[in-house]
């Protein structure tokens, strides 16, 4: 890999890690969602550098839609969505930090210690076409089951989220929780 390529990898890698970190450092839900998108864009750019142009760009394309939906839903369901009052909404903070650092160290050690076979992807091939043949050839079942899974998700999501269901309104019979936690406990 050329010097330029390595530089690009380092820049995009640092960018995606930093933006990934910023997701949990901001109070504004819109910013959090778009920091996450930035992290995905950084990874997408790394994929492009790793000779998989198609996967990198499609990741960016998908994430633009998905992260806007993320932002919309986060604004919808978070109190103080724009972070006008600074807030901390975390629990088991120390455990979480330990788990995060631990998993990083574990994975990084594995990455550095393990001996990977060097068998680079051949240059000059068209990976997109290969993916196409794979999808339509021996992995056809994966492809079609993805379709069925997506259909299941669509119907499930619409049925769960929609207001109007086959069995009446979705919020029928629900009870609003009391404001006072003591009252709720009793």
């Amino acid at each position: 890999m050329s010097v330029l390529g390595v530089t690009a990898i380092v820049v995009f890698g640092v960018a995606s890690v930093v933006t990934g970190w910023l997701v949990f450092r901001t109070d504004s839900m819109v910013r959090a969602a778009y920091w996450l998108m930035a992290s995905f864009v950084g990874v997408g750019a790394m994929l492009v550098t790793l000779d998989s142009q198609f996967l990198g760009l499609i990741l960016i394309l998908m994430m633009a839609g998905e992260m806007t939906i993320m932002a919309i839903f986060m604004v919808m369901y978070m109190m103080n969505p724009a972070g006008l009052n600074p807030m901390v909404m975390v629990h088991q903070h120390r455990t979480a930090i330990a788990a995060g650092v631990g998993s990083f160290l574990l994975l990084a050690t594995v990455a550095l210690v393990a001996d990977f076979p060097a068998d680079p992807a051949p240059a000059g091939a068209d990976p997109t076409a290969e993916l196409g043949f794979e999808l339509l050839g021996r992995s056809m079942l994966v492809f079609e089951s993805a379709g069925v899974a997506l259909l299941a998700v669509m119907i499930g999501a619409v049925a769960v989220a929609g207001k109007w269901g086959r069995f009446g309104d979705a919020d029928a019979g629900s009870v609003e929780p009391p404001l006072d936690p003591e009252e709720a406990a009793s």
Partner: protein, 100 residues
């Protein structure tokens, strides 16, 4: 090279783990999960690029992971909506309190 990228991947994964465990809000937890998936995609592609001789199944795996992410997001948002509608709850603690 592979090692370097895997370290980046591990860092993103670690942040994702932290987010998923520490956040109280449902959607923020989902953000942690998405970050972990992000790291996974990166790791798969780097293995595909460096160690498999360009086996298309590596790419297929990425596509499957992306599908999983879409499914996770759609079901996640749908459930958040349903829970919010039924319980007016937007953070996990509220659900726990309601268990009894």
């Amino acid at each position: 090279m592979i090692e370097l990228i895997l370290v980046f991947s591990a860092a993103i994964f670690g942040i994702g783990v932290y987010g998923a465990l520490s956040q109280q809000s449902f959607v923020m937890i989902m953000m942690g999960l998405e970050l972990m998936i992000n790291a996974t995609v990166l790791a798969i592609v780097v293995f595909w690029w460096g160690t498999t001789g360009g086996d298309p199944r590596g790419q297929l795996l990425v596509v499957v992971v992306l599908a999983v992410m879409a499914i996770e997001a759609a079901m996640g948002f749908a459930l958040v909506t349903a829970v919010y509608r039924a319980r007016k709850a937007d953070i996990t603690e509220k659900l726990k309190r309601l268990r009894n």
